[in-house]
Structures are given as structure tokens and as C-alpha cells.
Amino acid sequence: MSAAPARLPTPLILSAPAALLFGALILTPLVLTALLSFNEFEHATGRTHGFTVAHYAAVLSDSYYLEIFLRTFRVAALATAICVVIGVPEAYILSRMRNPWRSVFLLVVLAPLLVSVVVRAFGWSMLLGPEGPVNAVLMALGFGRMRLLYNEGTVIVALVHVMLPFMVIPVWTSLQKLDPAVEQAALSFGASRATAIVRVVAPQILPGILSGSLIVFGLSASAFAIPGLLGGRRLKMVATIVYDQYLSDLNWPMGAAVAVLLLAANLIVMLTYHRVVEGHYRRRLG
């Protein structure tokens, strides 16, 4: 032990493994994808070379793509909104439960995470398929067979199912940090329980709702398995057209351009949302 310990760049050394992993597994593919998106593509040979912004121009000027982008963000926004509406009260009720019920229900909430998304998507398609139990019930009740699959509603329902834990967990965490006396204080001034929740509890768990929404929105907007399996061939979302470009058309640069645009749009939406919401609570809650 001769070296002066103060000289060791300990923070750098300690963060190196994570930085390497991040660089190797996330940054490199991203950079490669971005580079690829500027390559020209020859349909005849499938070769990629040179430099062009034609793919971006094509995507941005084609209403077909714009519609898909709009649909993707609409679906993601709706799924996020529904997750807030269901997940926040769910987390609140969960935090009010006593053990052992609390542990049991927390497990129930988290259980979907243990099952693969693909399996769950198949589950939904069997449930809602023309021969599935839902249709069987509808037939028995005399409503006739309905086409439940392959529309936006189904994709949203399935996304909510998959994403709910990502909303419940951050909200639950911020609820855990609340001093129960603060809500009691509101009650002591004669506030009804509902008023106490709206005026006192909700504003304090806003950071949790914010991070939950960002996770849910980001994951929903780039979701592939659920729209792929439940949206069918007609109802396209951005992630599924990226897949199509890569594997059906073999137009990799085009697929890369769409992927980069999705990333950019996602970032813009999320950062804007973050700034707007955070601006409201920054000074108050620090």
C-alpha cells in the first residue's frame, strides 16, 4: 500500500463496469442504427452504402407513416392514462392494507411481470378470439359474435395489463414515503377522505405518478409483441413497421430511420411531459 489513496480515481473505477455494459449493449447498437439509417439502399441487390437522408424524408412526408406514428402515440397515451386511473388508486389501496393482505395483493399486482409478454399476448388473443370464452359468453347472452381482436381497444387493454405494475410500483414507493400524519392533519381540519386524497395525498405522490407515466408511456410507445400479436396485420404500430422493414422488405436503412424517429419522438414527448409536471412540484417537494 504505497500509492496515495486520494489519487485513485475510485468513482471512475467503480462506475466503469456499468459504463462498459451501457456502452457495449446500448450506445453501440444505437450509434450503428443511427449510422445505418443514413445509408442508401438498393432494392435490386439489397446492398447498403453511401449517405442519404432520403429515408427520413420518405417517412416524414408519407401520411401512411405519420398515421402510424400518431396511432402509436395515441395508443401509448391512452394506455398511460388508463394506467394512472387504475394504478394510482390501486397503489393507494394497497398501501392502506394491512399484512398479510398487503403482501398477497402486492404479489398479485406484480405477478404479470413473471409471465412473458408473448405468453400474455397469446392469452389475450385466445380469450378474445372468435372461438374464445368472451365470445362464447356474448353468444350465450344473445349479442352475437363480435370481432374483439385486431383493433386499437384490444391493444390498449393488453398494454394496460402488461404495464400496470410499472405504474403501481413507483406510486407505491412514493406513498411509502408519506408521513401518515399529513393525511390525518387534513382529516383533523374536517376534510373528507376524498378531499384529503385529492388535495393532500395526490400532490405529494406526483413524482411517483410522473415516473410511472414515463415508464409506461415509453414502453407502450415502443411495444412490439402486444401490437404485433393483438393488432394483427392491419393495425400497424411503429415498432411493428420497423420489424417489417427489417425482415419483410429487408430495407434495413429504412427500418433504422423509423426506429431513430421513434426514439426521438419518444424522447421529446417524455422530456416535455417531465418538464411540465416537474415544474409544478420542484420548488415544493424538492
Partner: protein, 363 residues
């Protein structure tokens, strides 16, 4: 019938009785303090009155109405929480105004009332700040302002002044007393500061491990503590274990480790084991050879208005307090005599579990 009545209130958490058989009547307009060491159940008692903790058994009546199981938001009490429980996302002004809003006080009336309350706690300049931008004592005063602004019939204060400096604390005590006088608010205050309990309360309730051990006026609690625990907890005291040696009509002689001491007889019989309590300020320091006991100054502490001496003598180390009248204090090592009037000695039956170390008795 009293305004606020607790009858045989018990609260158990599993096997632990946080509060046991508490019975307490508070008159309208009375100022009552709950005094006791940490963990003795003061907060729990207050929370049961407030409605945040459900009593395991017993009844609570407010103004003749049984509120034992009433919802907290139907009780209309003003509460200062031990943890302040300010609304962190609201400004000081909004915090104080919240209660008025809930009472549906018109907006135009709210502002002057909030400002008045903030004025009272010396925080008028801080109305626009958020709680996290305040110091601990400032937060505490916001909590106080928030509770008094709604002019509740009953104020429940859980250590409302614990974080304030001596001067501000005195000013706030005065304000609390003033509010209670003017508006006739019934106040129940939790404190572990006995000076505070004594100076502003009509009555003090001493609690010990979940039970009430004495309810009395401050002066009586101090001068006539019913248990040895109270005499130790309330103020400083010298505790001297001994045995009654002889009793006649007017006086009894107690042997304290072989040293005979005379006290007022009371209902003692020969052979009783007793503990004598003598407050330090009731011991007089006299010249050498005078007084009842000889001694020697072991330590001296300057308390501002008083001098506190530890005097070694035949009974071990005793504490004595003399007023700082400007004359030169005694030096350590100086021999003195100790004297007292027999009537100031309080007698508790039974013996101490262990001889107390006077230096640990300081509160």
C-alpha cells in the same frame, strides 16, 4: 359533566399496553398538560382523543357526546402533531388557510385570519414559503398557527414548542395561555418539559408507562408528588432510603444508613421502610458545625439565577440549590452545614430499587 372526558381508556398493541385505564376529565376552558417520559403513552392518548387511534376499550366523550368511534374529520379539533405534519406541497399561507377552507369560511375572511395567526407565531414574513424552506422551529410554529386559526373548541398540542429557543418558547406559551383565556379554548398539551407544563397549565397529568400516576395543579405536583417516580421526574430531588426508628405524636425519626433524621410523623409506624425526598432548593447551606448534617462541597454548577452544589456528607452526595444573590459562591472542598425545615421532607413508603446517583437525576 366535564367537557372532555376519557373513561378507562386502554390501547394495546399486541401484548404492549401503550395506554392503560386512563381516566381524565377536562373542564371547558381548562389547560391541561400531559407530562411524562418518552414512550409513556402521551401521543397515543392524544391521538385517541383526535380519532386517529382507536381505543382498545373505554369511552371518550366530548361536550356530552360519545366520540369514541366518531370519525376524525367529524370531531372539529385543532391538532398540532408531534411531527408537525405540514402539507409539504402548500405554502405556509395555504397550510394555515386549509382548515378555514374546510370550514367554508369565505375567501375574503380567510386572508385576515391567516395573517393574524401567522402574526401571532411571528411568521408573517414567511407566508409565501414552502415548509421545506423553513427551519424546524418555524415549521413548528406554522403547525401551531394552523391549529389555532380555526378556533377549535379543543386544542390538542403534541409537544408544540419543543423546537423553539427559550425566548420564543416563552412568548408562545404566553400566546397559548392568552388564546385559552380570551377564546376559552380547552387545551390538552403534551410535553416532557416540566417547566413548560408547570408554567401554563391549570392542571398537570403525570403519566408513567401508559398509566396516569397523578393529576393535580402544578404546585401540588411539585410539592406533593404522590410517588417517588414523580418526585424524581418532576424537578430535581434528593432521595434518601431509610427506616423509621421511633415515632411520637408530632415527629418520627428515620435512620438513614445510621444517621438519624427527624421528620413530621404522618401515618408512619416504627420499622417502616421509607424514602425521603428533599428538593435541592429546600436545603439550606449553613456555616460549618451548624445545621442538621455536616458536608463538603464536591462540585458546583452555575445555573444563571442559581448555584447547584453537590455536597458530600454522611448520607452520600446531596444536591443543594442556592439563589445567585450576587455574593461569592462556595468553593469546591469547602466544608458546610446542611439544614432544612422538617415539613419540607416528603415521605414515600418503600425503598428505592437502587440508590440514585444524583448526577443522573438532573432533568
Amino acid at each position: 359533566m366535564s367537557f372532555l372526558e376519557l373513561k378507562d381508556i386502554t390501547k394495546s398493541y399486541g401484548t404492549l399496553n401503550a395506554v392503560s385505564d386512563v381516566t381524565l376529565s377536562v373542564e371547558k376552558g381548562e389547560f391541561v398538560s400531559l407530562l411524562g417520559p418518552s414512550g409513556c403513552g402521551k401521543t397515543t392518548t392524544l391521538q385517541m382523543i383526535a380519532g386517529f387511534v382507536e381505543p382498545t376499550s373505554g369511552t371518550i366523550r366530548l361536550d356530552g357526546r360519545d366520540i369514541t368511534h366518531a370519525k376524525a374529520n367529524s370531531r372539529g379539533l385543532g391538532i398540532v402533531f408531534q411531527s408537525y405534519a405540514l402539507f409539504p406541497h402548500m405554502t405556509v399561507f395555504d397550510n394555515v388557510s386549509f382548515g378555514l377552507e374546510m370550514q367554508r369560511v369565505p375567501k375574503s375572511d380567510r386572508r385576515p385570519r391567516v395573517e393574524e395567526a401567522l402574526e401571532l407565531v411571528h411568521l408573517a414574513a414567511y407566508a409565501g414559503r414552502y415548509p421545506r424552506e423553513l427551519s424546524g422551529g418555524q415549521r413548528q410554529r406554522v403547525a401551531l398557527a394552523r391549529a389555532i386559526v380555526i378556533r377549535p373548541p379543543v386544542l390538542l398540542l403534541d409537544e408544540p414548542l419543543s423546537n423553539l429557543d427559550a425566548k420564543l418558547r416563552e412568548a408562545m406559551q404566553f400566546e397559548l395561555r392568552d388564546i385559552q383565556r380570551k377564546v376559552g379554548t380547552t387545551t390538552v398539551m403534551v410535553t416532557h418539559d416540566q417547566a413548560e407544563a408547570f408554567s401554563i397549565s391549570d392542571r398537570v397529568v403525570v403519566m408513567e408507562s401508559g398509566r396516569i400516576t397523578q393529576i393535580d395543579q402544578p404546585y401540588r405536583i411539585y410539592e406533593h408528588p404522590e410517588t417517588e417516580f414523580i418526585s424524581r421526574f418532576v424537578g430535581k430531588t434528593n432521595l434518601l432510603p431509610g427506616t423509621v426508628q421511633a415515632v411520637n405524636d408530632r415527629a418520627a425519626t428515620v435512620s438513614l444508613g445510621g444517621v438519624p433524621v427527624e421528620i413530621d410523623a404522618g401515618a408512619l409506624v416504627r420499622g417502616d421502610t421509607v424514602t425521603l425526598c428533599i428538593r435541592p432548593e429546600k436545603l439550606r447551606l449553613t456555616g460549618t458545625g451548624l445545621g442538621r448534617l455536616p458536608g463538603r462541597v464536591a462540585e458546583r454548577y452555575f445555573l444563571g439565577s442559581q448555584w447547584l452544589y453537590h455536597i458530600d456528607g454522611p448520607l452520600g452526595t446531596l444536591m443543594a440549590v442556592t439563589p445567585n444573590d450576587g455574593s461569592a459562591p462556595l468553593d469546591t472542598g469547602e466544608p458546610v452545614g446542611l439544614d432544612w425545615t422538617p415539613s419540607v421532607v416528603r415521605v414515600h413508603r418503600g425503598r428505592l430499587a437502587e440508590a440514585p446517583d444524583p448526577t443522573l437525576e438532573a432533568h
